[in-house]
């Protein structure tokens, strides 16, 4: 049995809008094993993205602990958390979030700018990542010259290029047609199965969730049930 990569204990998250407090996550506990592919589902406002942000180190819990790979990331400073993200997490978003004036290769190279690699080595690794997602022939294209599916592949290549152990995917197929969405989900499955990446994916789409190994359901900030995949 694989070890737990992610351990979340008694996590609460409350947002403040003026004087109003909005509790989003309540005493949430969750373990995710290394090499798992987990789909988080639930209605809008249930706290899926908030949970994803806590796992990805983009936000901190109001209380409770978030431990990933043995590290309490909720206790890290902003700067150390940024460095931790650059080494351990790849992010894939619904709207791809590529920099429009950079080519696909330059977009993929972005996380490598934070390393001490030479320009030639960065380029080599970016092209390798693009070849993993089947886009080595689009390296010099800018996002506006790519289809939605290709843009998302570039975003996945960017998430992969620094070889993180964890991929955080927030509605990665939400802006794609069914066929392209299936291609992207197949790619994520390959990354999970063949490259050993642990993937946590938020989705509304049951068909997308079918590609995961497990499904968890969130409602009103609490995990309500594990749905067999």
């Amino acid at each position: 049995m694989a070890d737990n990569l992610i351990q979340i204990r008694d996590v609460c998250k409350t947002y403040h809008r003026g004087k109003m407090e909005i509790p989003v996550l309540q005493a949430l506990n969750l373990d995710i094993q290394e090499g798992d592919f987990l789909a988080l589902m639930g209605p809008s406002g249930s706290g899926k993205t908030t949970l994803l942000n806590l796992i990805g180190g983009l936000d901190k819990p109001t209380s409770g602990s978030v431990e990933i790979g043995g590290q309490r990331i909720d206790q890290l400073s902003e700067t150390r958390l940024a460095r931790w993200r650059s080494r351990n997490v790849g992010f894939v978003f619904q709207l791809y979030n590529l920099l429009p004036v950079l080519t696909a290769q330059r977009n993929v190279e972005l996380p490598l700018l934070l390393t001490g690699l030479s320009g030639a080595e960065r380029k080599k690794r970016a092209l390798t990542a693009l070849s993993v997602v089947g886009l080595e022939d689009r390296a010099t294209h800018k996002p506006a010259e790519l289809s939605g599916g290709q843009e998302q592949r570039v975003a996945i290549a960017r998430a992969l290029v620094s070889d993180p152990c964890l991929l955080i995917c927030d509605e990665p197929t939400g802006d794609l047609d069914r066929k392209t969405a299936d291609e992207i989900l197949d790619l994520l499955q390959v990354l999970n199965r063949d490259h050993g990446k642990t993937i946590v994916m938020v989705t509304h789409d049951p068909k997308a969730a079918d590609h995961a190994n497990h499904r968890l359901h969130l409602d009103k900030g609490s995990l309500t049930a594990e749905i067999p995949a």
Binding site: E78, L110, L114, D170
Partner: protein, 384 residues
């Protein structure tokens, strides 16, 4: 350097906006280069003045005259080695636009005192002996294609001659400066001929020029001179040549103040314009900056990237403006020969480059702080 692609991407995102901002910075630094050079040209005229020369001028106005006979009394003062004088001639050479300073001077004494003007011995002698003789600086002679032996006519404006006709002089010499800091854009007229032929004010001169043996005695000698003519109908005000030149420049307006005022207005406008442009550019890129932070760029990295972008734009526009000013200055100097040593000084250029960097930092600081403080979750617009 590895962030250059990111910085370039920021600038290239809206090329027209970046170009227009660059153009406004370019114009500001072109003005800076030109105006600072003009201001320095005024100052250099002052700095080049001899420390061992005193100017005895009319007390109340530079347009008044003083009697040449004062020379004999001043000569008695201990420490006064030599005395020359000069008077503003004015006049028009062919066209009023052909402006350059022309001064009737006593040839022998003047050349003894102003040793920085170099001309061959035979031309020096000709200037002393030929009553209608004039000498012109090399830049004037080159500009108007004069050569020794030419007759040079001038239409009178201040100084009518006894025939109420044009003044015609013989060019007997062309002088060079002893080094490149000495202006060669003036013309000197043999005073004896001028004084004899002018229709009025015979025996009066604009200023007396005293060569003194010890510069440390300048204040004492100046006091003695002015005391000598106190309560006369032509009181004097004696000062060092440097102080006199400064006073002369101030009578034309406080050039330094005018330049500073113009440049302050220009840079304040550029500060607002560029600051607004940078702020807008950062506002539009909030999701992109949030992504950079998401993938691991620290707050400090984002701050520096935004400031570097602003400094790059400002520095590029600044250097282009200063280079253009450097290219334009020789033409400007040729059209306004009164400016002594009009050139792009390396200090002016370096000051401009520093100002461009400072402008970039000041303009980029606010948007950079905003980018640095960006909350990723808020910027990506996803709370729940």
């Amino acid at each position: 350097m590895k962030y250059f692609s990111l910085i370039w991407a920021g600038l290239y995102r809206k090329p027209i906006r970046s170009f227009l901002t660059l153009a406004s910075i370019f114009i500001a630094f072109l003005l800076f280069g030109l105006l600072q050079s003009v201001s320095r040209a005024f100052e250099s005229g002052v700095d080049l003045s001899g420390a061992d020369r005193l100017i005895v001028a009319p007390k109340y106005s530079i347009v008044d005259l003083i009697p040449l006979s004062y020379r004999n009394q001043i000569r008695q003062i201990e420490g006064v080695e030599n005395i020359a004088h000069r008077t503003w001639f004015g006049g028009t050479y062919k066209d009023p636009a052909n402006f350059f300073p022309r001064w009737p001077v006593p040839a022998k004494e003047f050349l003894e005192i102003y040793t920085e003007y170099i001309l061959p011995p035979e031309q020096k002698q000709a200037f002393i002996t030929i009553r209608t003789g004039i000498i012109a600086g090399r830049s004037i002679a080159d500009k108007y294609e004069w050569k020794v032996g030419d007759k040079i006519p001038f239409i009178a404006d201040i100084w009518e001659n006894k025939d109420k006709g044009p003044w015609v002089f013989d060019l007997v010499g062309i002088y060079d400066g002893k080094d490149e800091t000495v202006s060669t854009d003036q013309m000197f007229i043999n005073y004896d001929y001028f004084d004899e032929y002018r229709a009025f004010e015979v025996g009066a001169v604009g200023t007396l020029i005293l060569k003194i043996s010890d510069p440390d005695q300048s204040a004492a000698i100046a006091t003695q001179v002015d005391a000598m003519f106190a309560n006369s109908s032509d009181e004097t005000k004696t000062s060092t040549e440097q102080a006199y030149n400064q006073m002369f420049a101030k009578q034309m307006g406080d050039i330094g103040f005018i330049m500073t005022a113009i440049l302050s207005a220009v840079f304040f406008t550029i500060l607002l314009l560029t600051g607004n442009t940078m702020a807008q550019a950062i506002r539009e890129r909030i999701p992109e900056l949030a992504i950079l932070k998401t993938i691991g760029f620290t707050n400090r990295s984002v701050l520096l990237i935004v400031i570097a972008e602003s400094v790059c734009l400002s520095l590029l526009g600044g250097i282009l403006g200063l280079v253009m000013a450097t290219m334009m200055i020789p033409g400007l100097g040729a059209s306004i020969p009164f400016f002594i040593g009009l050139e792009m000084n390396p200090v002016t250029f370096a000051t401009g480059v520093c100002a461009a960097i400072a402008l970039g930092i000041v303009v980029g600081l606010m948007p950079a702080f905003r980018a640095m403080r960006l909350n990723i979750v808020d910027a990506l617009g996803k709370h729940v």
